[in-house]
């Protein structure tokens, strides 16, 4: 086999592996799942007078974060259908009237050994919601939930960029992301700060 042919074989092999690693691997690794309902943050912020994130995503009296609002919060406005959309019908008929919680797929779901306090970050550090959640609060649709087939967690934990290079500050929720942000703010936290 000539040298030129050797280089060609090597190049093709390299290209195939690179394509498989950078393009095919992320597609195979994550399975796409639809949220149970369509939801528009933008509509709620602009038309329903819910301009502040904390109006739905509130802190409880004891400082813990309520997370995604419970069904009773949604029922405050949506006890009856407020439009003719399919999502509205599903919301009212499938969840609100039977009193069932919507099984949202949580992008930020962390392992059980991780403790994160929204209260500390929002109140003490005075971080705006957008610093971590970007412009998601202004979005007009819910993101597709991409679940990692091996770990079972959302792609948002790793971040959209499979290489994790050049990612935006709000991208990724790995421990190293917490550490990077704390380092940028000259804050040191021991293991038990998050792994209580």
């Amino acid at each position: 086999m000539s040298t030129r042919r050797n280089i060609l074989v090597f190049g093709i092999g390299l290209a195939v592996t690179l394509l498989a690693g950078w393009v095919a691997f992320p597609r195979v690794l994550y399975v796409q799942k639809q949220q149970p309902l369509e939801f528009r943050h933008k509509t709620h912020a602009e038309k329903s007078g819910l301009a502040e994130c904390s109006q739905c995503h509130a802190l409880r009296d004891d400082g813990t974060f309520a997370g995604i609002p419970a069904m009773e919060t949604c029922a405050g406005c949506h006890s009856e259908k407020m439009g003719t959309s399919k999502a509205e019908a599903i919301l009212v008929d499938t969840y609100i009237k039977p009193g069932k919680e919507t099984p949202w797929l949580v992008y930020a779901q962390q392992p059980a050994n991780v403790w994160f306090s929204h209260a500390i970050h929002v109140k003490r550090a005075a971080l705006a919601c957008s610093e971590c959640h970007s412009t998601y609060g202004e979005s007009d649709e819910v993101k597709v939930y991409q679940q990692n087939r091996i770990s079972g967690y959302s792609r948002d934990i790793w971040g959209h960029s499979i290489s994790r290079l050049r990612r935006a500050p709000h991208e990724g929720m790995k421990m190293s992301d917490c550490e990077d942000c704390h380092r940028r703010h000259n804050l040191e936290v021991g293991c038990l700060g998050c792994h209580q």
């Binding site: 086999m1 050797n6 074989v9 090597f10 190049g11 093709i12 092999g13 390299l14 290209a15 195939v16 592996t17 690179l18 498989a20 690693g21 950078w22 691997f25 690794l29 409880r60 004891d62 400082g63 813990t64 392992p111 059980a112 050994n113 403790w115 990692n148 091996i150 770990s151 079972g152 967690y153 790793w158 499979i162 290489s163 994790r164 293991c191 038990l192 209580q196």
Partner: protein
Amino acid sequence: MKLTRRDLLWGVAGTAGLLVTPVPWKLLDDVSIWSQNWPWIPQPAHGPVEVKQSFCTLCPNGCGMRVRMASGWPVGVAGVASHPISRGALCPLGFGVHQLNWHPRRLRTVRHGASSSSWEAAQVAFAKACSEGPIAIIDGYPGRAASSVFETFVQKRNGSYRTVSSPETLALAPYANWSGVPVAGLGYDLENAQTIVSFGAPLLDGWATPGRFTRLWAERAAGSKDPQLRLIQVEASLSRTAARAWQWVSVHAGSEAALAAGVARVLLEEHLVPARGPMPPMTLAEAAGQTGLSTGAIVDLARTMVARPPVVAIANGDNLAIAALNVVLGAAGARGGIVRKSKHTESYASADTGIDSARAVLIDASVPWDFVPPTNAEVFRFAAWDGGSSTADWLLPAPGFLEELTDVPTAPTSAIATYAVAPSLLKASPEVQSAAQFLSGIDPALMTMEKIIHARCADLFRGRAGTLQGQEATPVAKFASVQKLEEQLWKGAVWVDEPPRSTAFRCQLKEWPTTVSSAQALSSSSVNWSNAWRAPVLPPLASKLYQESSLREAPDRRNA
């Protein structure tokens, strides 16, 4: 199959290409997370998260704790910064205490010898023993409502109530003997001390209420060449406390009493202190010979100690010479030294003596696992976890962490009286019983824990003294009713007494002690549970913190 050059080139190219894709490290990351989520690994239930204020009840120091509960189960704990004594700190065991209830060595069945038995059989056996002869109950955490149940039970049966002391409590025993003030009425006024001389006490490594001295040290001593608080550590090895102390005095192991005598001689001969105590018979040269220090070093140490008063010496256990040194220094019964608390007049007898003639001995779950009573009596041992090698006749499963209501009296070395209530956050399984419940089954006339705690709250309310320290400090006098006061205590507030008007007491010490320890003649069963690790089992988190990361010095290393 023949391997061709083309196959080799494909392999090399593939490997090289793979290494510059995210595949290897992404798979490594995902597989490691996947291994944490295997279905047989227990996971806390998902559900509403709430935070409850409580207290660690594993030892008598009662550190304040925030318990994070998910779906009604504790999944994490953290210190409470507003707690007046522990001030937000917890020991490694405390940080993992919520894991202990699921420990594989959790006791769930009554055992009689090597076989399983029942609560009914244990109760019949103990009631029979009570009718046949004197009994003794041993408590590791005196002053609680449960302790009151124990005391009432033994008083009715002419039995004896005994306690097991920690080394911190034992260190206060000589002053109790010389002054008549009970050990439970004495404490260290560390907050007002300027110089602390520790004779081997692991002050920065879990001594007493762990947060108390570490916070004090962080605020007044850490990182300064001339700190407000001078910590002098006298110890044979460079322990963690010695490494952080303002001055480390390296002496031969076991020569602390000789050094105390040498220092006292210098103080009295050079008139560095008023002549308050007796002159030690040991000469300076003898002290130097025993400690391995030069006479000049002992003289320098004595001068340094009194250079910035108030000064107090702290022994690691019962050491008469170090207690006598405190008398010479004027630290016994003085501000910044050993002081008398406002409350506590009760004196507790040690479990080391007086139980050899008992027909039966009941050991509460608060007594450290390693404690072996010096008796041949029938032993009924309550414990939540099986630490192995038990010699007890009966092993009785007790409630685990926060599975029973208890109150939290003053921590042993605290200079100020406190009181708190740790309600049960978890329902105990029917397989377990506390010793107080067990005794109530035999004598239904005994008061329940709820009633005793209510009576104590009523006493606090009637006293109108002190402050209730919750999220805010509220004087007791401002509470309109005992119910309001009790409600706050049940929610995790701590009652803190007012500083006593007089903390002084007088020690009658005419001659320098000739024995090293007042407990020397006693059994060797005294427990060393704070500076030696005596927990029967370790939660995984404490194991990680304490053993793998060596955050706390292992006792065998300290003794090396």
